[in-house]
Symmetry: C2
Subunit: 396 residues, 2 copies
């Protein structure tokens, strides 16, 4: 019984969730006291959200200052003006037709041969990964992932009863982020790409950060080279805003009707209102121009955090990320992870502990994910790293 399996193996906390800098009064407030199934990191995360003045390097959140608020509001007002008001009504399970056409157009520019009707709009990328995983899992399917990967996917695979493989041994399918990985912010190497493609296995290609490569437009997706076995996943959460909760899935054509049935059983359809707002916004704005600006913005923040780390924590190793929201850093000692995080929060700085990103929760080699994406001001990157360094000096 699946529910029991989920209950017996409470996965580590998933990301992204807000451990947002609560220096502003409208930051997410503390949630309820949750049951004993909840692990210590969840409790610490909620404590962080309640800590005034805390700087958060946690959560994988985009910068709220980059949300195009007034443009989205204008799109909302326009979307309400059609007489039968589809923005507020039920819609088709596959999603808005024009929105799907726009998504297909973006993928075609990257070399994938996809049509509007290949796209299924989902309730965020998480649902897209969930639908894909439900289609490919058998009993105990072995899903291959990077040694560090997206916790929301790792949790999901384990909840579905799949075996997550992170050591390169035999797998039945892959879950990968080839363009920009999370948490490392790496582009997949040519050799790795060739090996994965020649394996002939099904692949869940999570492209959440693909448009946020610091060196330019998103690369050719795996979808373009193996559309018959790639489940391609995308989202507007990183490039526009997460609050719309709109992602997409391009399943292999042979499975499209089944995926759509599954989607419909899950939640009927992605919300009409965010889709209508998005469709209007994309029709009226230059999204490519927005992406150019965002790449520059996050690239600059990454560089600033790198400088701060080299200065204040010279013993920490990291590779400068090629894109995305975070730096994956490996400190030069191995303190107790939960103890370090709790101490950091007391010192006004939060981060994501490295074990969250590992299928089996390994704490060694000791690592942290530091998100430069969502702090209120660039200067918070320096101050945050200073706090981290002070705290590190105490515990390491």
């Amino acid at each position: 019984m699946e529910a029991t399996a989920r209950a017996i193996h409470p996965p580590p906390s998933s990301h992204p969730r807000p451990a947002q800098a609560p220096s502003s009064r409208d930051a997410p407030r503390s949630g309820p006291r949750l049951g004993s199934g909840l692990d210590q990191f969840e409790i610490l995360k909620r404590r962080a959200a309640d800590t005034p003045g805390l700087i958060s390097f946690a959560g994988g959140l985009p910068a709220p200052g980059e949300f195009p608020r007034s443009k989205l509001a204008a799109s909302f007002v326009r979307a309400l003006q059609t007489p039968s008001c589809p923005a507020l009504q039920y819609g088709w399970p596959e999603g808005d037709e024009d929105l799907r056409a726009w998504i297909a157009g973006q993928l075609r520019r990257r070399g994938a041969q996809v049509a509007r009707d290949d796209i299924i709009v989902t309730s965020g990328a998480q649902q897209a990964v969930s639908l894909a995983a439900q289609m490919i899992r058998g009993s105990g399917a072995r899903i291959g992932v990077d040694p560090e990967s997206y916790p929301g996917a790792l949790d999901l695979f384990q909840a579905l009863g799949a075996t997550v493989i992170d050591d390169g041994s035999y797998v039945d399918a892959y879950y990968l982020m080839p363009a920009v990985s999370n948490p490392r912010g790496r582009r997949m190497s040519r050799g790795h790409r060739a090996r994965v493609l020649s394996s002939l296995r099904p692949i869940i290609e999570d492209d959440a950060y693909a448009d946020l490569s610091f060196d330019g437009p998103a690369p050719r997706p795996l979808l373009a080279d193996a559309s018959d076995r790639v489940f391609h996943v995308g989202t507007f959460s990183k490039t526009l805003c997460p609050g719309l909760r709109i992602g997409w899935l391009v399943p292999p054509r042979a499975l499209r009707a089944d995926v759509l049935q599954l989607k419909q059983s899950d939640d009927l359809q992605a919300a009409s209102l965010p889709q209508a707002i998005l469709e209007d916004y994309l029709r009226n704005e230059d999204f490519d121009q927005r992406l150019v600006r965002l790449r520059e913005f996050y690239g600059r923040r990454a560089a600033r955090m790198e400088r701060a780390l080299r200065r204040h924590l010279p013993g920490w190793r990291f590779d400068p990320p090629a894109g995305g929201f975070a730096i994956w850093a490996e400190p030069d000692a191995e303190p107790n992870e939960a103890f370090f995080l709790a101490a950091a929060i007391e010192n006004g700085i939060a981060f994501d502990p490295g074990s969250l990103f590992r299928a089996h929760g390994a704490v060694s080699p000791f690592a942290v994910r530091l998100c430069f994406s969502s702090v209120a001001r660039d200067e918070d990157l320096d101050e945050g790293v200073r706090r981290l360094a002070r705290c590190w000096a105490e515990v390491a």
Copy 2:
């Protein structure tokens, strides 16, 4: 393998989906050509949405004229004004705190002892039913339903591998709509309620239409009498608008943490933006007053459709509904169901075929669900029934 089970048994089309009167140019357009797994009713439904001038009695859609457009727009603009903009950011998996407090308050007024933290905001009622069903199903769990029930739930239970029981024989759990049933629009009898409660079985209580009893406020929910084994499901889709895609689940407290994990694996959280709009709207508007007006509005439409049926189709039997969006009618002959629906669409009138509401797709006794809720004008009810009568005279 679940995906295969779903693929082998394509369920009948689910509701609600728009087979909306496309007299207006912005009605949902035709979707893609779907695979062979799709049944004939899905094709007919999409054809109906493409038929100019068609009057639709299908789909269980609320009246678009009753959507509070300008108030929702005002709420959106206000929700964007807080500095860190939680409306556009990620939020907690359990949902907005103030929204949950509001929902809990409504349930307390109906006699249920629930607190804010008992509520989980979901991506519509469908997801709430899906989460509940995943928690109670064992391999082949027997879920008891009314002889006619909500197709989205029937599809879901079958997809999950449960056995749907509609003949009163032994069950492991129930799925029920005690306040206002769908499709019959009935209040559960006292005797039935007592029997269900004394069974000591888990119950999924789908309260989607509870606020739309024509004779007054929603009744005491089963949740109030068995909170330790009721999964209570609610939604704003019928009383406000479906486009927000916001519902809720009150699971038994002992299972709350597990349900929350499951919710998070599915899609992380319900969309922040619709939650923020709703929270602001409910804080600023008199929702009770709105419900009073809606009960009067739909009650008046029900009475008008009843009169039209008695006049133009005097041989059709039906019980006047006690609430909701539809009349369940049993005509006085048994033509081929798909043929009748296809002919009706050609004659400019659509309805939901009765077999959709039956777990095993039985076409006998022949029945149709006629939604009076979403036609553009009250007069369309008369004209729609006239078209239906003309078509009936041809096929019956």
